[in-house]
Symmetry: C2
Subunit: 586 residues, 2 copies
């Protein structure tokens, strides 16, 4: 039994005899499982990398030697060994640490990281800086096999070969991305595993790296031996370690995809504590697409390594067959592929998280928009109530997409409108269309919506009033309605508008408001900077008679915020808006 | 002698006996050289790919078989063979065709392409669409060795391996990017060339492709033979052809970098007809950086395959030594690397064209801005008077960068201000800083500017007046001054402001304007959608007394526009602005 509380830094790990390291790993794993089962988190990635983390900190001298974790969702053990064990032992302290590396937490963390495939490039920058400054020390990038399909990882590997000095890439090969891997590189990894690393054809050697293979990447003794050998290596080397995702927890070993990331679960059974019930936008999207695929053999769903984003659990992927394409973590390719599919007469739907679509900004512009091909992009988790880690915010898809010419960006307000827009988008062949999938409840509203959105940038007035018009975009349309209700009780009969489109303005409707209104309020569930409201404000800029108040999310990198608190701060609450509007109306 | 005018389609090429194809190639090359020398264009890439294009069209059946050209800057011969020879024969008709593939021009062009590394993904979309639709035909992506370093190309190759049907990638290896290649993959290409394609370690095979090597990619007979073999291949195959960049024109063969893209040149000597003289922003940037490198061994200039963007011709790269890093075409990596370098205590400057920086939007956000590392990005060719091909517009860097929290985006108005901002950015260690390098003349103005910009978002009032304040951003500040002059002659003493920052507002100054002004006019050399002026308009949105008029470039994909005409259309001319302002002041 090791006193985990006494591990204040890697020096305390190094002070242990080698023979106790397996015990340390076992205890760390137990602590991890307690926290993960209560709080949720990245289960499989962390369980599989316990031994390697112990070995890294035993051999290398962090923070002189610098370990950079890709995505950094496997860095919990690293946190426990670098002075942050408190964040894992007592449930009251769980929130002390976040789920990713964080330089604010520790001098052993060098970057805030949450997107994939960046570790090699970031680490290479540290290595070049070290060389220019004449300093010493090892630079180690830890990257999972799943992240290798991302173009940025390739670019980093390709450039690293020219370094000519110490640089170590640990490839943590657990034979899984979030779901199963896709891409030719994984056949090469399989070949390397099957040949104990001896195959002539070797992706890493082809890019100029030295290469070492470790068949059991959960065996501390072997890892210690291997890391000792590459320590202070004078040139770039890949250490390819074969690990078991979910190691040491049978449900996670058996159900790797479900336990990549899990909400709180029952430790004994592995069953989720809060299983989702009823329809979700994920399941609605999946069911729609599966139906569409049956009626149209050219309908295709595309994911870039996150099939769950649109509800495609393994059994549904099997059902879709070749009409479901997982390109691996490769957002750039996914958008270009969708454009090519649409150009070739197929009907592609690419479902992607708002934050990860950022990876494909140029492809949205160049490969898709300039070419005008009718691919459909489903943007998930956009808005304040999506993911709230600083690296996963969904605040920027409105500014990003709506300022690219030629992409129609639709923001439905509820389930029925989403389904109507989705079906229109998949049936039309005139435009690239992005749809921001609503957040929150997908319960039926009973409302009905038009089936045709080809008359672009036509806003819908859902309540006709005077003095003030509230334009409630997408997720916030309900807030516009609620605010109008409250205003009604204060004697103001507000107009409410569902703009439906954020990629253009309904100038006719905006002009018509001038006669009976003196205030337009915009509410959008995204960063106001570069967003929809600012366009409305600019449109009315030279109108002396119309005031515009723009509400939305701040242009800030917030971390683990409370959504309710944030909305309050931004006055995105019906009572606060009512107060503001009454004051502005004077 | 072949009657080139009679070649109306690939069928006319196929009608020629094989023995005449070398003559055809020679004549096409002659026509190319005439046009290139008079008009300028991509010299080396086109000269090197004449034979391969002839062979492709001889063997394959375009447009049933579909050829997708990466960057498509090597597609001139393709255009000549697909009904567009007129655009190359008579100088009066040169403008009929543009410099890239263009579906509007021909059914043989499938995409508008101008950025690198996209061809494989786009072509793969066509291939999958073909399979889903049960159609036949070959899909061929043509990609240069230089483009292979881009992550999107890797992602496409990686995914293509799973296709299981016809897909042909022609790797046009001329051993050059724009400049020399950089990256480990190029050592593998060298190995493959040196072993006549027989080396065991093969990047393309590692990704799951079949592979054929052609030692002389300018020999039509061998190419015909090889393309015949892979035609109707039932699985993905790479045809790696070794070509000579600039083939058949000695100056271009000898000076590959200078002749990658050239303005008009004297055909006999190869000398440029309009050599640039005097300082340019490129040379000023280079000279500053070289000086900085001498005084600070951690100062580093980074390029992603376009060293010329900041004046680093080969002799200056040699002078900079290891302080100049060309990462190859790899914008994502370049930004992440710069962030890592800054984190490690070095002083990186990444110089990049506005349009290509789009490739790194997510890295600007995640790898750089969230981490707050003090890397400096020099944004070149942003604005109406930069490149004017639809795929190379510099309209979007203001919306893209300024809406990312935490990046300071500076827009200098002239040479002296640029140098002051550049030096401040390179000396400070608090923020990621982007600087939009001015367009046009770099002649000295004699003006002096502050050396410290750490008081963020502080605008400078360059002329104090009343009634109207004109905020002239960057390149357009001179226009604000000129308009104020004209207004003066109409009895209006306008205020003029140089905002310097577009990443935040000087609310104090904006508030102060309220007392003596009723109109604020913003002028920005970028798309108004999501830009600076809309932020100003939104800021004044609830002020009844202040009108705002926002001027800038349209949210449109324009192609080969006249800059003067565009500025007129947008009223970005002092007399037109004066008229508008007089009318608005009433």
């Amino acid at each position: 039994m090791i006193n985990l509380k006494a591990i204040k830094s890697p020096a305390d790990v190094k002070a242990l005899p080698v023979s106790e390291l397996p015990t340390l790993a076992e205890e760390l794993r137990g602590v991890l499982l307690q926290k993960l089962s209560r709080r949720g988190g990245h289960v499989g990635p962390n369980l599989g990398f316990v031994e390697a983390t112990v070995a890294l900190h035993y051999i290398f001298d962090s923070p002189i030697d610098k370990i950079i974790y890709d995505v950094s969702h496997q860095s919990y053990t690293h946190k426990m060994l670098t002075g942050r064990i408190e964040g894992f032992l007592d449930p009251d302290d769980y929130s002390i640490v976040n789920g990713y590396t964080n330089p604010v937490e520790s001098e052993h963390d060098f970057f805030t990281i949450g997107h994939t495939s960046t570790s090699i490039s970031l680490a290479l920058g540290l290595a070049k800086a070290r060389d220019l400054r004449g300093e010493k020390g090892n630079i180690i990038a830890v990257i999972g096999d799943g992240s290798l399909s991302g173009g940025e990882a390739f670019e980093g590997l390709d450039n690293a070969a020219e370094l000519g000095s110490n640089f170590i890439v640990v490839v943590n090969d657990n034979q899984m991305s979030i779901a199963e891997n896709h891409g030719g590189i994984y056949d090469n990894l399989t070949l390397l595993r099957e040949t104990d690393g001896k195959a002539d054809n070797n992706y890493f050697r082809a890019l100029g790296f030295d290469y070492i293979y470790v068949a059991d990447g959960n065996d501390i003794a072997t890892l210690l031996d291997t890391f000792s050998k590459v320590k202070d290596s004078a040139k770039p080397v890949v250490v390819h370690i074969n690990t078991l995702k979910g190691k040491g927890y049978l449900p996670a070993e058996l159900h790797k995809e479900r336990f990549h990331y899990s909400g709180p679960f029952d430790l004994a059974s592995g069953q989720p504590l809060h299983p989702s019930t009823g329809d979700t936008y994920e399941s609605l999207t999946r069911d729609y697409l599966l139906g569409k695929m049956k009626s149209d053999p050219t309908a295709v769903a595309i994911t870039s390594g996150t099939p769950g984003v649109m509800g495609f659990a393994p059994e549904y992927r099997r059902e879709a067959g070749r009409q479901f394409i997982d390109v691996g973590i490769a957002e750039e390719h996914a958008v270009a592929l969708a454009s090519g599919l649409a150009r070739g007469g197929a009907r592609p739907f690419y479902g992607v998280y708002s934050t990860f679509l950022q990876r494909a900004y140029d492809q949205l512009s160049q490969d898709l928009a300039i070419n005008g091909n009718p691919a459909v992009i489903g943007v998930f988790s956009g808005g304040a109530e999506g993911m709230n880690d600083v690296t996963h915010l969904g605040f920027w898809d409105i500014p990003m997409i709506s300022n690219i010419p030629g992409i129609v960006y639709l923001l439905p307000t509820c389930r029925e409108e989403y389904m109507a827009m989705l079906d229109w988008a998949m049936e039309q062949s005139s435009y690239p269309v992005a749809i921001r999938v609503p957040l929150g409840s997908a319960a039926p509203t009973g409302k009905s919506f038009p089936t045709d959105y080809s008359d672009l940038n036509r806003f819908a007035m859902t309540r006709k009033g005077e003095k003030v018009a509230i334009i409630g975009v997408g997720n916030f349309h309900h807030l516009a309605e609620e605010t109008a209700e409250l205003l009604g009780s204060r004697g103001v009969n507000a107009t409410v508008i569902n703009p439906r489109f954020v990629s253009g303005l309904d100038t006719e409707m905006l002009d018509s408001l001038k006669t009976m209104h003196s205030l337009v309020v915009t509410l959008e569930d995204g960063s106001v900077a570069g967003g929809f409201g600012q366009k409305v404000a600019a449109y009315y800029g030279d109108s002396a008679s119309m005031k515009v108040k723009v509400y939305g999310l701040p242009e800030k990198f917030l971390d683990r915020y409370s959504a309710a608190g944030l909305l309050d701060e931004c006055h995105l609450r019906a009572d606060l808006l009512t107060g503001d509007i009454m004051a502005a109306l004077g």
